[in-house]
Subunit: 227 residues, 2 copies
DNA sequence: ATTTTTTTAATAAATCCTTTATATAAAACC
DNA sequence: GGTTTTATATAAAGGATTTATTAAAAAAAT
């Protein structure tokens, strides 16, 4: 999965260098020289990271920052501010405005790579997607089209397990083990059925189009994504 | 507060030099000559920085790097790679594997000192923001909208750890280790719960439960910033 | 020695897991 | 088709586990 970085930098020489060194390892770097063209692209395709110079021809860097952060949907976009050392605007101000990091210019090339990688590392949290569901395994969170769905711990584990194995049928026994551990046996019990009902109700209160299909005599399975 | 540096360097002469020059102004440098003894120490006390030579008797340097970065709890440990292989490829590879800097051997003593100091300075100047909270790790101070909040030492460490890892759930055990050290076990105790209550009360006297969420059976995590 | 902080211990409260019982549905059999 | 057998869905209750809270003891710090 490619990691998209927008560089918004007035100085074309610096911009060229940034583009060169960061265009590796799955980074897709796109350079912009002014805020107008930046936002034109931004509104159609959101990047994972923005490298933001504060000196721009058509807009104040702070305002770019504000405008990005205004929309809550952009909360996961990492913003690294690049600024000349003698700038009046301080690091604290930038952080207050919602920047995630601040690098003073002139910067070391390795320093830039290192910080970008550090942010990327942090961001590289796995997100599991299935249809309109997004699952954050590290936080036990599920979203359906940006709307958060509260599942209990076991419900979460069962759903995650099903989605991770969406191509096959999972027996009740296997599902039980998915949250209780391998050596737990679960004979003749309806626990999983109850959890499944909980999941179904929460994911889809109107009971219209269940994600989870029951396979008579076998267990459960997720629907194929295109049906 | 002392800054702990682990040096993992095969060559005892170089190791001695590193130890000598960095054991100044608040640095506590501990030297290891092989990965085995390094990890033994590492698992019981985490350093702030690792100086990593790539040529080791018992393990590939890259694998040391990987193993450290594997555990998300280590993401704030600065890793500086020292290597004789000074090709560009190797440099970028190392950074991509999670190193924060790369120094080619043979290195200038001043070069080493300067790079280490740069990382250390950054570490010391760090300000951590979360919602309306600002944390100054060096001073052990927390502000909520410019109003200072008095936390005890352990409360501070727990809150800081949670915020630094706001993207994931932290178990009570991990939180306990965050201030008591890696090799401390904390079995069947409610200490963390009590600290969490202390933090919640102080951060948010009206108990609207703004910040810390309990995950039943798992631990605690911070709320997403926009919820 | 006094105060503050940390931890333990005990109880209360909350969560949510599991069982149970019954209703419903699917497959098998006549 | 109708009946029986078997499997699943659902709702409600009970129970077990987990967390919150409080107070007091122990440990540290001043």
């Amino acid at each position: 999965m490619s990691y998209i970085i927008y560089s918004l930098e007035d100085d074309k020489e610096i911009s060229r260098v940034i583009n060169l060194i960061l265009s590796k390892n799955g980074n897709e770097v796109i350079s912009f020289y002014d805020a107008t063209s930046f936002f034109k692209a931004f509104d159609s395709l959101k990047p994972n990271m923005v490298l933001l110079d504060l000196m721009l021809p058509d807009m104040k860097g702070e305002d770019v920052l504000k405008r990005i952060r205004e929309d809550k949907a952009n909360k996961d976009i990492e913003i690294i501010v690049l600024s000349a050392k003698n700038s009046i605007i301080s690091k604290v101000d930038m952080l207050d405005l919602g920047a995630d990091d601040y690098i003073a210019k002139p910067f070391e090339v390795l320093e830039l790579i290192s910080r970008v990688n550090a942010k990327k590392r942090r961001h590289n949290e796995e997100i599991i997607k299935y249809q309109d569901l997004s699952i954050y395994p590290l936080k036990y969170e599920v979203y359906r089209n940006n709307e958060k769905i509260d599942l209990t711990t076991n419900e979460f584990k069962i759903l995650t397990y099903l989605i991770k194995n969406k191509e096959r049928i999972i027996s009740r026994d296997e599902l039980f083990k998915a949250y209780w551990g391998e050596n737990m046996a679960n004979f003749e019990s309806r626990v999983i059925d109850v959890h499944i009902k909980g999941i179904r109700d929460k994911l889809d209160p109107n009971n219209k189009d269940h994600y989870i299909v029951t396979i008579y005599g076998e267990g459960y399975k997720l629907k194929n994504e295109n049906q």
